[in-house]
Point group: C2
Chain length 183, copies 2
């Protein structure tokens, strides 16, 4: 059993939505006390670190209602039910950027907010990019702009908080480590 | 105005909790269509990359109900209302690890899940660590174990998915970049 396991005594479903569900659970703590846990259920997502042959990172600018601003991110998207993350990664890359990848390699996965959410991101690296002649349709509520940046430009965008999310900063650092190792 | 701005037409409050609030908003998209946005409101948090004089990274193991397992993370904690993140960082470091830092440097901030949440993490680096004679009390629903690991051990823990969250993996990569730059 996991260390400091918390036993669920009661689960209340608060909300079932399009992207998230919300539950509140009464749990028994390791010392026998009872506490409440507020839990956001999410289907999981992929992020794609797509590198052009010139070593630029492909990014998309989009408005994020939760933040009230537009930010620049690596392409990403939610898993459909029962979908292999690699399939999602190929689809989201094509939809958001118009690029098809000859090679797609799994890098790492991580939970984004383990304190309250079960959202997991599977990070892939896409290389051997070719622009599709016909770009597939995006989700009808998605509007994005394509940007391709060097690592140095990406770090400037981080300083300016135009790049401002965990998965994109993680992807930039991944590229930096690989380059520094190769020097 | 931000690119692809989405105007809020109506906000419905779904839940007001201890850690999160949940709203559902009707928004007007750039093309005039209307869509729904499910938004989790969070007070924000800090993460602390605490390095011992020997260069080990201080981590805590804790059970995460959202994931149904224990994971190993850098120390972290929520902002109290109106609190400066640096104050939170010092407090959480002391509460979770028993260490006091002579130096605390701001590194970067990022949103954890921009698709549905406004949670922001302010990442600090803590150095010049001294063990407090009297460790302060933790929150009453928190149970953690202290672990100190080298970067190499941390990377093994990532592969084993014992380290499995965005902020901790980001912190490890930060250390790797700094070391590789210094070589």
């Amino acid at each position: 059993m996991s260390k400091f396991f918390e036993k669920t005594i009661h689960t209340e479903s608060i909300y079932k939505g399009k992207v998230i569900n919300v539950d509140v659970e009464d749990v028994e703590l390791p010392d026998g006390q009872v506490s409440k846990r507020e839990l956001v259920r999410h289907p999981g997502a992929v992020g794609i670190l797509a590198l052009t042959d010139e070593g630029r990172i492909v990014m998309v600018e989009q408005y994020r209602k939760a933040l009230g601003k537009s930010i620049i991110e690596i392409p990403a998207g939610k898993l459909e039910e029962g979908e292999e993350p690699k399939i999602t990664a190929n689809r989201e890359l094509e939809e958001e950027t118009g690029y098809q990848a000859n090679q797609l390699d799994y890098l790492v996965s991580y939970y984004t907010s383990p304190g309250f959410a079960d959202e997991i991101i599977y990070l892939y690296q896409a290389t051997g990019l070719n622009l599709l002649e016909q770009r597939p349709d995006m989700d009808e509520d998605e509007f994005v702009d394509l940007i391709e940046v060097t690592v140095e430009e990406a770090l400037d965008l981080v300083k300016m908080e135009r790049i401002h999310d965990a998965k994109t900063i993680q992807a930039i650092y991944y590229v930096m480590v690989e380059r520094l190792k190769g020097e």
